[in-house]
């Protein structure tokens, strides 16, 4: 992948803040085949953390190229968050490509499950045809964290307009995404009504991501 170990920036290895930043910039050009386990997964996670803390805000990720229908940012997020502890569920478009399952097994070692309710992460390439949110794990009243996080690939953050409110948003935020199911706002309202149970959504368009955690109130505009 590259010949710089994660330790190159370590002070004892002669690295320092200046050297380190330059290394990071020169090492990556566009989407890579794989990612530096320490730095790149931190960057992808941090972007997602910011997005989850500020629902509807967009962040651009340095993506990872993976077999279609993987979007570069979806692959980067899966590589930085999924491992043997996190069962993945694939929608029909993802499941149809054998290379997808091979890539996941090789890079993450994550088990792939048939039942959406058993998944920690669900990968959805066909957003307009996404299954009802209730099919995924909603967590329990005692452990609402035991729920599925949906990674939903869309074409762009434009189109159907929504207004978002809730924790992380000062007053309200305008948001747009397409394609999504026609009754998306209704589905999100039902999801919000379950709080603290419910699922969290991450929307992905190419290298851009935005999060709609269960705490957000989504209104069609």
């Amino acid at each position: 992948m590259n010949n710089l170990s994660p330790f190159a920036a370590h002070p004892r290895e002669g690295g320092g803040p200046e050297v380190k930043k330059q290394d990071l910039d020169s090492r990556f050009r566009g989407n890579e085949r794989s990612m530096d386990p320490a730095y790149e997964s931190q960057a992808a996670f941090r972007a997602l953390m910011d997005c989850t803390a500020r629902p509807g805000e967009l962040r651009k990720l340095r993506g990872v190229s993976a077999p279609a229908p993987f979007a570069p940012a979806t692959a980067a997020l899966i590589q930085s968050l999924a491992d043997y502890e996190t069962p993945l569920w694939l929608d029909a478009a993802f499941a149809a490509e054998k290379k997808v399952a091979d890539w996941i097994r090789f890079h993450c070692g994550a088990p792939i499950v048939r039942e959406p309710g058993e998944a920690a992460f669900a990968l959805i390439a066909d957003a307009a045809a996404m299954p009802p949110l209730a099919q995924f794990s909603q967590g329990t009243a005692e452990y609402p964290d035991r729920s599925t996080t949906l990674l939903v690939q869309i074409e762009s953050f434009a189109g159907t307009p929504f207004t978002l409110r809730g924790p992380g948003i000062k007053a309200s935020r305008e948001f747009a995404a397409s394609p999504l199911p026609a009754d998306f706002a209704v589905r999100m309202k039902e999801n919000r009504a379950l709080f603290p149970r419910g699922v969290d959504l991450v929307l992905v368009a190419g290298n851009d991501i935005a999060a709609l955690p269960r705490s957000v109130a989504v209104e069609a505009r």
Binding site: P6, F7, A9, H10, P11, R12, E13, G15, G16, P17, K20, K21, L24, P37, A38, Y39, S41, Q42, A43, F45, R46, L48, M49, D50, T52, A53, R54, S80, L81, A82, D83, E85, T86, A120, T140, A141, E142, Y143, P144, D145, S147, T149, P167, G168, I169, K170, F195, P196, D200, P213, R214, S215
Partner: protein, 291 residues
């Protein structure tokens, strides 16, 4: 490479993934304590192992880290944790609140208002606000599930019955986003109003108790109280004897063995910056002469 080397920020990547997943759930469910597989750290429990694990999992090479212990940048705990991350992550550190992107704190919120580009990481000893009222985890978990917080109000009421006012002065329980009651860690109740509607993301890590929880930015955080006994932050009725501040949280410092004492800002960076700007203590005519 005979010298021991660490992965970036000490923790291995699988541990970081596990903690990162817990942090994301914590942000999605404000105030809910997410269980996580806390690791043994090269420092004892009680020294901020929870905060250190959270910081290690979010920290990147471009971050600037500030660590405070009771508001101070230069106590043993703060110095040790700062050194730990310089050694294992090579990040830049600062004592200036406005220059930091990640601030790890033990028991204070900085006086300087935080911004959207900052993350505040709290070290938490006992994350469960109901623990001293109900020792069984199975029961407290059910109480959170049912929003059954009557017991907490009884505790505050008993304070009023005994002392005439709510005598809880630190780790004052709060309700986050109208749902979960949460322990804000042992910050003085003076800091409680700063929890609400903060521009910065706030993360809480309890290493020994293996819990992570969070308050997203711009989230309503209410200190529990009664209509006839509203919540009141407390501060010593004095000015800082170094910078003269009358609106900061003060520490009482004993200066000799004859009863001598002085009040100084607990936030050392805030106090230093005020003194650099030329602020100084002006002795008040009516002020009691100390010692």
């Amino acid at each position: 490479m005979s010298a021991p080397v660490y992965n970036f920020a000490y923790l291995d990547e699988q541990t970081k993934r596990m903690i990162r997943r817990a942090i994301l759930k914590a942000i999605a469910i404000p105030g809910y304590q997410v269980p996580f597989a806390s690791r043994e750290m090269p420092m004892p429990y009680g020294w901020g192992t929870g905060g250190v694990q959270v910081t290690a999992s979010i920290l990147g090479p471009d971050d600037t880290l500030k660590v405070i212990d009771q508001g101070s940048d230069d106590t043993t705990n703060a110095v040790s944790i700062r050194k730990f991350f310089v050694k294992t992550a090579g990040v830049e550190t600062t004592t200036r609140t406005e220059d930091a992107t990640v601030i790890q704190t033990r028991h204070r919120i900085p006086e300087t208002a935080l911004t959207e580009n900052q993350v505040l990481v709290y070290q938490v000893p006992i994350p469960e606000p109901l623990r001293f009222l109900e020792p069984r985890e199975t029961e407290t978990r059910r109480m959170h599930a049912l929003s059954e917080y009557g017991l907490m109000h009884v505790k505050l009421y008993e304070d009023i019955a005994r002392h005439g006012h709510i005598a809880t002065t630190y780790a004052y329980p709060v309700e986050v986003g109208g749902r979960y009651v949460m322990d804000p860690s042992p910050i003085p109740k003076f800091d409680n109003p700063k929890l609400s509607d903060s521009a910065a993301l706030q993360l809480f890590g309890a290493g020994r108790e293996k819990r992570i929880y969070a308050i997203p930015p711009y989230t309503k955080v209410k200190s529990l109280d009664f209509e006839d006994h509203p919540f009141e932050p407390y501060r010593h009725d004095a000015a800082c004897e170094l910078c003269g501040a009358t609106h900061s949280y003060l520490d009482e410092v004993i200066t000799d063995d004859k009863g001598g004492r002085m009040f100084v800002c607990s936030d050392t960076d805030f106090c230093e910056q005020r003194r650099a700007e030329g602020h100084a203590h002006v002795p008040d005519q009516n002020e009691a002469v100390h010692g």
